[in-house]
Symmetry: C2
Subunit: 434 residues, 2 copies
């Protein structure tokens, strides 16, 4: 089947994910040869420190600290980039492509920020760039989106694509834990980093959503296009009210297209408990895609981890290697439109959950309702009113009908200035599966 004697792989990075890839290359070499039609051989691995002990040891002659050893190795047909971070990963990817090497990467940051540049150069040089592992780790999502849903128009994407925050929110929901404690547990378990900003502020999810939206809408969506709001303001009270109201709270990455404009946002959201994505717990990921033909399909599985992520990378690697082995020139990747309007968050139209700490005296609710009504926000229901005798304060929780985000933000400012309002507890957007 093949006229190549072997397909050479250059690995950039052998951390958690890279180590997994190396293991698969060595331990499943027979399977890979069978699938590809010729041997797939690891030609070299770029590391920062050769002497550093690793959970999985590679023959030392394969290790190098000099990227040129990979870039200039004519036997390397495919570069697997699993260093993560923006630089030098981007530089190495571009140089590899310039050398005519195909790319498999798990790098969401690079793909979200520089995808168009990378794919443009790849097109020019006639090489493939695949990045299944950059979104939802081991859960197949990019290939199914591009392949299985190819005839579909994507209407919305609802995704849980950050395992760290989903773990934290699950703990808060199921055990009534506070954010700080849940975060600490996640850090102890290695699910969250020492500096958790990228995860808890929704930045990591925004990268991934930019990638998914670009592919789904065939339009360039940059990470900077994605509105993101983190989970740090959520309290155990919010989870208690959500449960009473029949909702789960999830950090959702949401992309939608309407009237030719795209809206992309990452924020905590109330999700009806009976919806499949509301049932996704712990560090797992899920992506639900709603389309014109298929309705809703959901992909659920591990969003990180050494072997799951390495599995996704290997799938990309096998695809490219089979093409190389069979001298197949794959069709060029689809192009992405560059002139699609991205709707700012101010144009969002949704329902809201609002929790307020107010003075416990008559007429307070009327003032709040008035302030909201003045900005065309109508209240669907008032859910809770807990009075605290000592502080003479009460908690009002209300759900609105659909309203405009800009109006809601204006209304919040007005409400916040009311003398009867002590504090705005939280405002959470409500996603109804309508």
């Amino acid at each position: 089947m093949s006229n190549k004697s072997s397909i050479g792989i250059g690995l950039m990075g052998i951390g958690v994910v890279g180590g997994g890839v190396a293991r698969i290359l060595l331990e499943k070499s027979k399977l890979l040869e069978e699938l590809v039609g010729c041997p797939v051989s690891l030609e070299g691995a770029l590391v920062r420190d050769i002497a550093k002990p690793r959970s999985f040891d590679l023959p030392s002659h394969l290790l190098t600290t000099n990227v040129e050893d990979i870039l200039n190795n004519p036997n390397v047909g495919i570069v697997v980039e699993v260093m993560g971070g923006q630089e030098p990963a981007l530089d190495y990817i571009l140089k590899s492509i310039s050398q005519g090497k195909h790319i498999v990467t798990a790098n969401k940051e690079v793909m979200a920020r520089h995808g168009p540049k990378i794919l443009g150069l790849a097109r020019e040089k006639g090489v493939q760039v695949l990045f299944e592992a950059s979104v939802a780790g081991g859960t197949p999502i990019i290939a199914p989106l591009l392949r299985d849903l190819v005839a579909n128009e994507i209407i919305t994407i609802h995704a849980i694509i950050n395992g760290t925050t989903n773990y934290i929110l699950t703990k808060m929901a199921q055990e009534g834990m506070d954010f700080d404690l849940a975060l600490k547990q996640a850090q102890e378990l290695g699910y969250a980093e020492a500096d958790p900003t990228n995860d808890v502020e929704g930045i990591d999810a925004a990268y991934k959503l930019a990638i998914l939206s670009t592919l789904g809408f065939r339009a360039t969506v940059r990470d900077t296009d994605v509105f993101h709001e983190g989970i740090t303001r959520l309290t155990s009270r919010d989870f208690r009210y959500a449960e009473e109201l029949g909702y789960a709270i999830k950090l959702l990455a949401i992309a939608s297209k309407q009237d030719g404009a795209i809206q992309v946002r990452v924020h905590p959201a109330f999700v009806p408990v009976d919806v499949m994505i509301a049932k996704v717990d712990g560090v797992l990921n899920a992506v639900e895609i709603q389309t014109d033909l298929t309705g809703r399909v959901l992909f659920h599985g591990p969003g990180a981890g050494s072997m799951p992520t390495a599995s996704a990378i290997t799938a990309d690697l096998v695809e490219i290697a089979r093409n190389l082995a069979g001298n197949v020139v794959p069709p060029p990747p689809v192009t992405f439109s560059d002139d699609v309007r991205v709707r700012p968050i101010e144009e969002l139209n949704t329902k809201y959950y609002l929790r307020l700490n107010v003075a416990d005296r008559p007429g307070v609710f009327a003032q709040i309702a008035q302030a909201l009504g003045d900005l065309n926000i109508s209240i669907a229901s008032v859910i809770q009113k807990e009075a605290d005798a000592v502080s003479q304060a009460a908690e009002i929780v209300l759900m609105t009908h659909r309203a405009n985000e800009a109006s809601m933000q204006n209304a919040l400012r007005v409400v916040n200035e009311l003398s009867v309002v002590n504090e705005i507890g939280n405002l959470v957007r409500v996603e109804d599966w309508e």
Copy 2:
């Protein structure tokens, strides 16, 4: 990109699914041309009766009742077979392949029964046969299994791949409905056929499981290898007990591989409520695949319906059309081992739920425990004992530890002969996600 002027499609069958395919071919022709690199044109459609009114009308010059018009049309490069049933579909598929035409089919029955023959001929003739729509309708499963999980060894597959029965079981669980009434509702809604045998006896799911197992284990699994037991014995009492015990009842299609042998079975199963697949309700499908590298991934979505199924067919069609347009010779399909042992159901080792109607008098339980114990079946818990004063009968519900199926069946015979046992209410296998 293309050196073909057009890719011609021959459609065999324009019922519910075929009509959807025709609609996509006509209404999304611009998108298809963009994706494939040249126009994709419907060259002809085989129907039984040209005059029959259809929800979607095709230009009458495209309709034919003579299969030769498709087989001998040199412009037809891809035949889409959506007639369903075994014959004449099988005959037409084989003849099409012999003519060098590529095949896209949604026919689970033909692929489950004659897959090896069809794929063998396809290999010989150098054509592609794709059948994404044959399992779980519009939910991507075959391509992700073959592509994204390519480096994985499949350990188990747990699937809900019959929407009719899942609808019925959901009604029974949520509304306490009896089987007969739930079936009647499913029939009224068009989810179940007038003769529901294929669905409710697990035959339809067995076809699909044979296909999934063949692909997952790379070993030929025939529909006749699949043990199947239907849902007709389930009563509302079983659902009540299941709920109390923390389980849902689902008609599961289960494939597993252990010590080189495969076990494939379709039967009602107790599934822990907190497991993702237990939460799949209504007519939807879900397939959960457990692998060595990725752990568990789940695919969830529509298992039938005109446009969802047509979406899956179109994805296959685009894949082949792109290859044709680009003169790409795809790698030959993987071959399937023919000498894998299929373990008969008697070798199953699982936990059981057993419901018995017994005489309400002392010593009864001891006799039952003795009969089970004699066959090495140990009881994990006795859950319910409801006495009925009028009939002097009681109901005993027990859960066993893991036991051998053959022993369990023998034990049931012994138990059934005990004078104190009025009736064996039900025996349901328990799937624990361990």
